[in-house]
Subunit: 357 residues, 4 copies
């Protein structure tokens, strides 16, 4: 219980259901005197927002964020920052008819068993819509990390079904609605998405995240390692089924001589470690990768049950992403930003010798 908070010094606590009045969060522990306004947050919310291309759900939300507290005359005050986004485009009618259905591949089954009651409208709390607040909170962390420490956190769609990015261009990424880095394969990607939509099916994806400028020393062994906390934050994103740091699962077939990164007085010669050794950042780029499962909400029917445990066939109409991976890049960036921010503050606490006040 009480599982809706992440972080120890920089904490983010979220609330809100897909079709409730609003989504919100409290960002606690943000240092004072950071310039902050709605626009800083809106930029990332807009990157995540649905309805921006024909390849994502047609639900149209403005997702306009309001800062309710913690900012005074354009600067953070060190007190908790309250954020809110109102839900404006809920078509709850769409869900009336699946009121009693347990949608396969969804949280319907488990929420029903855990709580004995559920808000069935759009998945309620389990909807990907919940990630709006992760992105909002992450935007604050991102800004602080960039301004105060020149840390950049960026991600991209590395693979969508059979289509793998080969060239990585950061320019390309922000120029297409997939956050895909390989310009030569974008037309292929769009064709694949169109065929999927015709088929009424969905597909999984892989997202890579790279954090540059991270100082060495972040991460708290033994349990609160930086990699362990990143795994926690990233696996907590809806639909994520796998997390890798650095070489990830490739290490299974690597030999020690291949994997270990040589060090010279000028730095490391490779980065199989993904920027983390012994759970602490090395100062190299932090590299993480996640796998997102395909959406289970499909036109194509599947066997399931209803809340009376009777067999039914479920086919989902309504508005859904054929690939949740497409919009997951800003969400994954946000989680990495939140974790890094928390560890930056934690590291300072133990290791800084300066006391203000």
């Amino acid at each position: 219980m009480a599982g809706n908070t992440i972080g120890k010094l920089f904490t983010v606590t979220t609330f809100g259901e897909s079709h409730g009045l609003a989504l919100g969060c409290i960002v606690d522990g943000c240092p004072p005197k950071l310039d902050l306004c709605e626009v800083d947050i809106q930029i990332d919310l807009d990157r995540r927002r649905p309805g921006t291309s024909r390849h994502t759900t047609q639900r149209r939300e403005l997702d306009e964020v309001k800062i309710l507290s913690g900012v005074f005359e354009g600067k953070t005050t060190g007190t908790p920052i309250g954020l809110m986004v109102e839900n404006t485009d809920q078509r709850s009618r769409d869900y009336e008819k699946i009121k009693d259905l347990i949608r396969p591949g969804h949280a319907d089954y488990t929420y029903w068993h855990k709580y004995g009651i559920r808000d069935y409208r759009g998945g309620g709390r389990s909807s990907a819509r919940e990630t709006v607040m992760r992105v909002a909170a992450g935007a604050i962390a991102k800004k602080y990390l960039a301004n105060q420490h020149n840390i950049q956190i960026r991600g991209y769609l590395a693979q969508l079904g059979p289509i793998k990015a080969e060239k990585i261009s950061w320019e390309v990424i922000e120029q297409n609605s997939f956050f895909f880095p390989d310009s030569e394969k974008i037309s292929q990607l769009e064709a694949y998405m169109d065929s999927l939509r015709k088929e009424g099916n969905s597909i999984g994806a892989r997202i890579n995240i790279v954090a540059t400028g991270v100082p060495s020393g972040l991460g708290e062994p033994i349990f609160d390692r930086l990699d362990a906390d990143l795994a926690h934050g990233l696996m907590s994103i809806n639909a994520v089924k796998g997390v890798e740091i650095g070489s990830g699962f490739d290490v299974v077939t690597q030999k020690g001589t291949e994997h270990r990164d040589p060090i010279t007085p000028n730095g490391f010669l490779s980065n199989h470690a993904g920027g983390i050794l012994g759970g602490i950042s090395t100062g190299q780029d932090i590299i993480a990768s996640i796998a997102l499962k395909p959406t289970s909400s499909l036109r194509l029917p599947e066997q399931s049950i209803n809340t009376h445990n009777e067999p039914v066939e479920v086919a989902t109409t309504g508005r859904h992403d054929p690939c949740v991976g497409i919009r997951a890049t800003p969400i994954a960036e946000a989680m990495v930003a939140i974790i890094l921010m928390d560890h930056l503050l934690r590291h300072r606490g133990q290791n800084s010798t300066k006391v203000l006040g």
Copy 2:
């Protein structure tokens, strides 16, 4: 900081360095009246213990655990359980000569940068020896879960370098020092390990963990999902670079129709989800998989630096596992047990209606 505790209701806090006086932990939140004695814990410590075959480090520790508190007349009292294992076979001399060296692929570099001081003997706190206490604490969780809820947590070596298990036999697993489930490939495995040792090299591995009998309803959305907490616990194990739940990274190329598990009044027809939907257990087997990197401590030299940032060549003598994966199975089981135990208690807190006392 203060990163040496895991869990919220069932918490485990550990201390100890590879070559210090002792390793210990405090298990807090264990329910009262569980039958518990040293033997219950020793069984798992012995499964993890080094020096049991020629394929693991020849360091010989008895790893005898002492229960210092929390148990009275053979039963837990509900108060914190203090556990201790004394270090008996420290050959600190082995390490004198690498005092100033930063071993590539190790935590030497990051501990040095983070703390500005380090216990260089056997990696100090960053040594895999620290996992002794995870196994000890996990044994308590395992016993409670088995006795009270008939939950079983078992793991095996699924792959070691190029050698993949094809047949999974739970009998075979406990009959070989690799925890390998495929009897037909064990001789192949031993030959491979011998050649590795001759070569002076090491290799990575994959461990699979299966938890059976887990009730549906465990896990706390949004951030403290069961899968997110499992990812945290498993990624916190030394050398782990990747974590998967259910289909894991295979989902990248799966379509929605393949991935989603059909449900019938008698249960699920498949388990791509790995027993978790929306961060909450479904009641199916929980399936997790981890990737462990190859040991970096090798006879074969590698470029590195010393603490004065001068270039050096590092070759490690001393006693090391050519594959840390071999002994990681009980450690991974322990982490899964600790996480499940914590979530079982958390779930009760919010959802049980019974108040004792």
Copy 3:
């Protein structure tokens, strides 16, 4: 940092400044299927609301609470409950002129030193207005405790300056705006308040809280004792300078034979312990008492400094309570309810043997 959350299983996180857009909180960990609507919360907000008598600040807020999430079709769902109260009657102009002043006896000095920036409007985050959200969250805990366990939490004004209550009548308490239990002294109280107001001065107060129906067994030694957590929650209320459990400071002159409560097969014969032994509830009434300092915002001038460390004289106009104690009763009740709720759930987690789901 990140100090705006209380509780471990039933957690309350608040945000909001006196003159910001809104105050809000997230109540996480409330069990599912509790009947809940705005009215349940509004009742307590109205008990605390200013402007209800000439003896409290004339600031007039409706303090209308909105439930933004966590409740579906009139029942809690087990997901976080988002609450919000908009600020409607901020007269920020009142504060423009004290922009640079450090008001003696206020948090101005410490916020300024800690954060180097502050929202000077009405004390910003340090305003007693922040307690609105404590009361709102406490109302949810109160309702659960009452409905599920028949636990009642009630408080009263035990002393205001020289005027001590001698007769305690629960009926009387809710019939006067002081929450004073002794009808014979109310006119005396009103006369005293009027003279204070003429004088332009303020006065301290003592509030007593009594919780009945609390089962034995709540509280987690050693550090998270029920009495320790009550002390934490009560001391966290603005202006509180002292907390007592049971006999409180009278124990200094009590002998063991006087203090210890005799036990019979039918229960305890006295309650000097205040319902708590060894940090765990005994099943008797839990009795706590707090001391609230007099408001420092007075017409009468006092030496102080401004933010340039120049000497100034500060006299506060604007709308203030001559005795914060008057409205503190519902706030103290709320804190006790939140702490008891948290411990009820924690106790269940460790001691219940039932697993739902």
Copy 4:
């Protein structure tokens, strides 16, 4: 549950029963490179140790502390510090005969109801012996605060039953076994204690704690205020029934003009606030006061029940303090040190701008 940890960044987790094998704790989050050896801790353990005068329990323990980890070559390494004190003088036989008795005024009743099982030897976990580890952990915090920030934490016995200290001399305090500051009244105190012992009775006490050199800015509103956390830490000490900060309960009859502390460019002119405003330290001395109840273990019999709920008369033989307050001074100092240390690190985390590593 899991209530045996205190602190967020500087955390102390303890274990151990009065008559178990050992008491221990893990101090996590101590900054690296602090000079530390057993003697630093032993000094305070000796100040607390029983059997040092005829006025305290005659139980004779050496209470020799062992540092098991976290210190290397005389300096802390930043990793968890494991501490242990073995129990050497347990006379468990003394307790056999009260095996089934519920001692009035003790935790016997509540542990029995909470856990359904208890270690009856010397109160088990609920024994004041548990405070040994608080003192040990506090000694580490004290040393860091003194060396790095010149913060001093000292306490004294302010009142024992009817005998109040009038003159406060820090020299006198360490020269008598009562930690009493008024030399003129010590003979009176000894006479009173002797008469109490003859009578077979016990008495309560008041301890005052003063922390000097505390920088302004420590404390995290709203819930984790410095005063609230001090109240938590102090109320968690066995036998404490009341906590005051600054003027404490005297504020009930104070007027605003009396209570608020005037400020000048050179500092405050008084300290009714006890060094804390709005939950944050002002830079003045922090002043706290606690009330400790009289021991309930008396030769004089009292009505009670046994574990079969049958009426019995309980008279305690064995070795007990007629006034627990006498030895409580070092314990209260330790708790204040632990809380200040935690808040110092937390404050740095949010407000320091320096990142090491």
